[in-house]
Symmetry: C2
Subunit: 421 residues, 2 copies
Amino acid sequence: MSDNHGRVINFGAGPSALPLSVLEEAQKGLLNFSGTGIGIAEVSHRSKEFTAFVDQVEKNIRTLLDVPPTHRILLTQGGGTAQFSVVVLNLLARHRLLHPTATPEETTLDYVVTGSWSKKAAEEARRLTAGHATVRTVVDARVYSKDGQSFDNVPPHAEFRFSARPALVHYCENETVDGVEFAHDAQSPAAFPFDRLLETAGAGGGALVPLVADYSSSFLCRPIPRLADHAVIYAGAQKNLGPAGLAILIVREDCIVDVDAAARLGAPPVPLILSYKQLADHGSLYNTPSVFAIYVAGLVLERMKASGGLLYYEAVNKRKAQKLYAVIHEGEQKGLFRRKVQQGSESWMNVVFEVLGEGSENKFLEGAEQEGMKGLKGHRSVGGIRVSLYNAITEPEVDKLIAFMTHFMKESSSKSEVNAV
Amino acid sequence: MSDNHGRVINFGAGPSALPLSVLEEAQKGLLNFSGTGIGIAEVSHRSKEFTAFVDQVEKNIRTLLDVPPTHRILLTQGGGTAQFSVVVLNLLARHRLLHPTATPEETTLDYVVTGSWSKKAAEEARRLTAGHATVRTVVDARVYSKDGQSFDNVPPHAEFRFSARPALVHYCENETVDGVEFAHDAQSPAAFPFDRLLETAGAGGGALVPLVADYSSSFLCRPIPRLADHAVIYAGAQKNLGPAGLAILIVREDCIVDVDAAARLGAPPVPLILSYKQLADHGSLYNTPSVFAIYVAGLVLERMKASGGLLYYEAVNKRKAQKLYAVIHEGEQKGLFRRKVQQGSESWMNVVFEVLGEGSENKFLEGAEQEGMKGLKGHRSVGGIRVSLYNAITEPEVDKLIAFMTHFMKESSSKSEVNAV
């Protein structure tokens, strides 16, 4: 492994693997960024070299995701958890300006709860808007789970109950902890029910529907379905895009509002650095941004463009996920593995399963680590195995994991046969 | 310069120079952090290697600054500007819990305004607390300036008017834009009037005085005078400590309060990631932190410890500033330069002056750049020259600038003599 700087394969859920070529480029940038004679961690965010770099980052995101001119692309510090609060404050301000006399009961925030992160987002909304608004659960996926308490599915469309005039509707596209993801095929029963939402929440007429998606762990793994129907899409960078400390926001113009005017009408005050308008008015450079994280994200975006864009990544990611689910299925037939997510709702990015039998999971993790594969332990709240297949994980790396799993199954089967004798 | 990776001397005000040895170490860490086989921008913030690293960062800050056990050290995202809002929300919550029935008029936030940043902090407090509190100016240094409108001094102690029971008292120790700093010699008339504050604001008895200092651009350049008398000290990392995207907070235990309990009593709601208590309860790891920035800061701290700690840096920084002010003084005698800050209030970290004569400043900047010195342009709001002398700037680098300035003076003098003939 010496040609590889002693690096292992990192299947961690985030912060997560970055392409080696990007890291090698970043090594150079640390000492001298763009011929300035100054390293990227030292360069002024107001320098012409860095502002040009930021412009290019925005352009590349716009091109890769085909973001329409109705939407702004903003870069900010923090990750998904910060955005749980930010989106509430900004969209509550928007709602207040549209409906200045709405009571807390009439000011509804709709949350689709399909996993640990969307549940957490709803909890933060409830905490932050106490006395100002009413947080509703559109649907709770646990009700439709196999055991009645796990997040293992996207519920049937008929079970989604949207408000007629919500301040926001929030969903999490991919649940990193639980491995549940909305299907991208519009015909799938596990797709997000866009039409149902637009019928209900758009029924008031006039204002656009404030649909919000947390795309943290599936951002840029493939195109975003019906992007233009979203009001806000946000994503922490530390999965497919770059280091921790950076979030990308795609915000429709009608959601960029004067939060101070809203506060004068009774909406909660918004810290300046959390205001979409403040970010947008200053081209994401109101205060010093997370310069290094933006830089690495920029290198990743250039690489993505050169590799063929999102259709390329979609094809590769689909293959990676399909072959991994196939071997898990094989193990399930043999009584060695158990899938945790119901068919059709499985994530491409975070594949979760259990290894059956006492001590087997530890054996699995140790065996994988011995072969140079790390980050496979499931989230501490749910246990099991989690394989994160972000863009930087190559197909040969997945093949290596699959070879290990196949070997592991063979070993386990022969042992149980011996025991059975 | 090829042995130096084409690097120039970076006198920029922030993000700013980092030690070359730290950057070279960080290059290695980018590919493989602490023998994990995973790069620092990819490693889980919950890994035992990274949590141990964070613990050591906190310990090193505590040791270097001699932080007493009454104060917690917290790491968070964002920089100084974010903390303008954060400190207001948390200390307003503290005040509400102490004085549940205080009217907005009785809830005062005291701001000492000695430069652009403290002015901005006060403006954010005013914006954020409209209807909840009253923001007062303790003193405005412009009143005592040479031209009646610039920030060029620390005002006389007798002019500081503190409230009797403030929710917070805020000052900015070093004003990065204006080059004004409080003197560290307690006997100096330009020292912060700690005793005057404690007499007035402590007169209510009981509760500790909520003194807040923005130390962004002078953090770790020397020991902090009367650190234990502060309630909150905050600093963006991107001056003496590390890359942008990280702030260090030193918070006295009585300021770590239940913001939700305060909100139920009418204080503004606080986004979870901005709550001191949330940070403290999770050892600064509630959500994914700015891992790379923490890492580089950690390397800088190790280097500081090895170099002899803050007394060493204090001695070097003092020499650097004194010799630079001496040559500016020399230029002033010759009518070529003009100091902008009144004697006694000059910053060690950001030395500001003007080069007299039309076009002279550009000539100065171009000449310096030709000799490999960059980042000398004053902040766009005030113009002139600004030399930032953060810890990573070595004495030989300052000597090189001084040699250039001496040469520049010689050239300018001989030209004016020619013109005079």
